[in-house]
Amino acid sequence: MQVLKIENKLKILLLMSNTLFISLMVLGILGGILAVILYFVAQKFKVEENPLIDEAEACLPGANCGGCGFAGCRALAEACVKQAAEKGNIDGLACPGTDMGKVAAVLGLTAAAFEPKIAVVRCNGSCQNSPAKVHYEGADICAFANTLYAGKGGCSKGCLGLGDCVKKCNFDALHIDKETGLPVVDPDKCVGCGVCAKTCPRGIIEVRPRGKKDRRVYVCCSNTDKGALVVKNCSVGCIGCQKCLKECPFEAIEMRGNLAYIDPTKCKACGKCAKVCPRGSIHAVNFPMAKPVTPALQGAEPAVKPQPRPEAQPVEVKTEVKPENTVTA
């Protein structure tokens, strides 16, 4: 009886393993045949593309931010290859966050020098500098709040702090500082694609060149109203006194309404204007031996203390200067 039972069990086991074996074989062969068919079909229907496009695309960040004006990094790569073939250069085609020299090298060409850019928030109307006069209870969209009222502090050109720019940034380079209520640009992540500048309903964000040694000077205000009006709502807004304009040795400052504007193409980042501004509206970023220019500490004092310090010098400056607030590039 026992032997019979064991025999039966063995028979069942054999049957099962037989079934298992056959199933595996059939499926395996089926899979193999289909794989071969798929391979040939893929080869037959393959789209022939210039391999240079792939190489050019590899040089680009791949974030598809649209800062170049094209639909994505691949579209820019295609345009570069096309223009290179037609005109022999890639002038006019640029990714704001990439050195186009790399792309040019892939195509066997040269390109203009890379000028890295960064987004700059031209408003310092923080909760401290421009105290809130009203509560806001509406949808959290700057574009909508802009139609409803001037802003918590009353400045009609100031930052609304609801973060449309933050939501649009593809590189996670913006976030709203909880204490000041203003957006802060992370210089390590920002490539200067310009999406935030287009999104801001008040045009507060501007894409400016990073500047030599990452130094840049800009007027941190976007309000073109008369000085008396600006003072009512914000303690650090530009009043249009034109002291900076008179001080600038390079004629880089122009007045737009009652607002001073520093032309980045002419500005040599000497920082003199920032010293004379009576409201502290001009920010000189990454200058050595300067008070840290963080919005929270902005008061009525000028941004940079008048101290003797080396002017724009040849290379030696790099080694002697060890500032506390330079951001490593």
């Binding site: 006069k133 009203v134 509560h135 806001y136 209870e137 509406g138 409803l148």
Partner: protein
């Protein structure tokens, strides 16, 4: 100086809110609950308490520890799911099974999709169908209805077949034998079945309250009942021996509970009147098909779940007529 508030218009609001709607539906189900306790005693009451408690606890745990978001157990929707889930099960179901059902209903049926308003399927029905498929025997052993004044509040239930069960297994003739053809009994709840679905009269009372208070609209339930009546009526006319007459189909099983309380769940049903009518028609057809020719004796749960899946398509197809837009006539 006062700090004024700036907000977009309108600056006034009606007094309606989600909480009030949910609590009104709970109130409408109280008569049915009372009748259920009358017929099934302590078992019905404890299952209700456990189900409601489990649903609310599950939602609270998920919101507090998993999602770490705002707590919404006070809005009454979890309690409502719990009550409806309890209404769908036999009174003698073991407690741990209904807890499993509650966890599935809230956890998978509602919270996994994002919480209130985001679920495509009715959570109570998700829980019920899950229990039906996982615990088939327990979920299909129905106790008989015996008034508590006869047998006592805590007495054990005596099981027996439900009218639909009899219909499925033994045909029309069996019902006459079992003496279950008393229509009044069906309406008042003196029959076997899930304790929430037996008393048609109490449920209708609650439903009328909801319709008068404008919590639910009458289109979906009416469409369901009409479809079922007409469909089974046609079948009955063709073959009276095989198919029972239509008015019984209206009161048997969970059709009234499903039509007025489950199919009208706002989150999972269409938004426009035409959509609701089509939704009701679909539920009716599928219910009858399952009842007459399907494997299960009762088809309302499955019918509603299937139509829930079609709701987004129905919403897309049936949009309200926009003021001032004239559809160009086909030439």
């Amino acid at each position: 100086m006062n700090k004024y508030t700036i907000s977009g218009s309108p600056h006034v609001h009606s007094t309606e809110n989600t909480k009030k709607i949910m609590y009104r539906v709970l109130l409408a189900l109280v008569p049915a609950l009372l009748v259920a306790i009358y017929y099934f005693g302590w078992y019905a009451l404890r299952l209700t308490i456990v189900s409601v408690g489990a649903c609310m606890l599950t939602e609270w745990l998920i919101q507090k520890y998993l999602i770490k978001g705002p707590l919404t157990i006070n809005d009454g929707s979890a309690a409502l799911t719990g009550l409806l889930l309890a209404f769908n099960v036999p009174a003698n179901l073991p407690i741990w099974m209904v807890i499993v059902g509650a966890v599935v209903a809230i956890g998978i049926g509602k919270m996994a999709f994002g919480g209130l308003g985001k679920n495509p399927f009715n959570p109570a029905l998700v829980g019920r169908v899950f229990m039906l498929v996982s615990f088939p025997t327990a979920m299909t052993t129905w106790p008989k209805a015996t008034p508590i004044f006869d047998k006592g509040f805590f007495a054990d239930a005596v099981t027996g077949p439900t009218p639909l069960g009899l219909l499925k297994e033994a045909g029309v003739g069996s019902l006459a034998e079992a003496g279950d053809l008393q229509f009044l009994d069906m309406v008042l709840g003196n029959r076997g079945g899930a304790f929430g679905e037996v008393c048609t009269a109490a449920l209708l009372l609650g439903a009328i309250y909801l319709i008068c208070r404008r919590v639910i609209e009458v289109f979906t339930p009416l469409s369901i009942l009409l479809t079922v009546y007409v469909f089974t009526g046609i079948c009955h006319l063709i073959n009276p021996e095989m198919y029972i007459s239509p008015q019984y189909h209206l009161v048997y099983g969970g059709l009234i509970l499903g039509a007025f309380f489950m199919a009208t769940d706002m989150v999972t049903s269409p938004m426009t009147i035409r959509g609701k009518l089509l939704f009701g028609f679909g539920v009716g057809v599928i219910t009858v098909v399952i009842r007459l020719w399907g494997a299960y004796p009762e088809g309302v749960s499955f019918a509603i779940l299937i139509m829930n899946a079609l709701t987004p398509l129905i919403n897309k197809a049936f949009k309200p007529k926009v003021f001032g837009v004239v559809k160009p006539s086909k030439k």
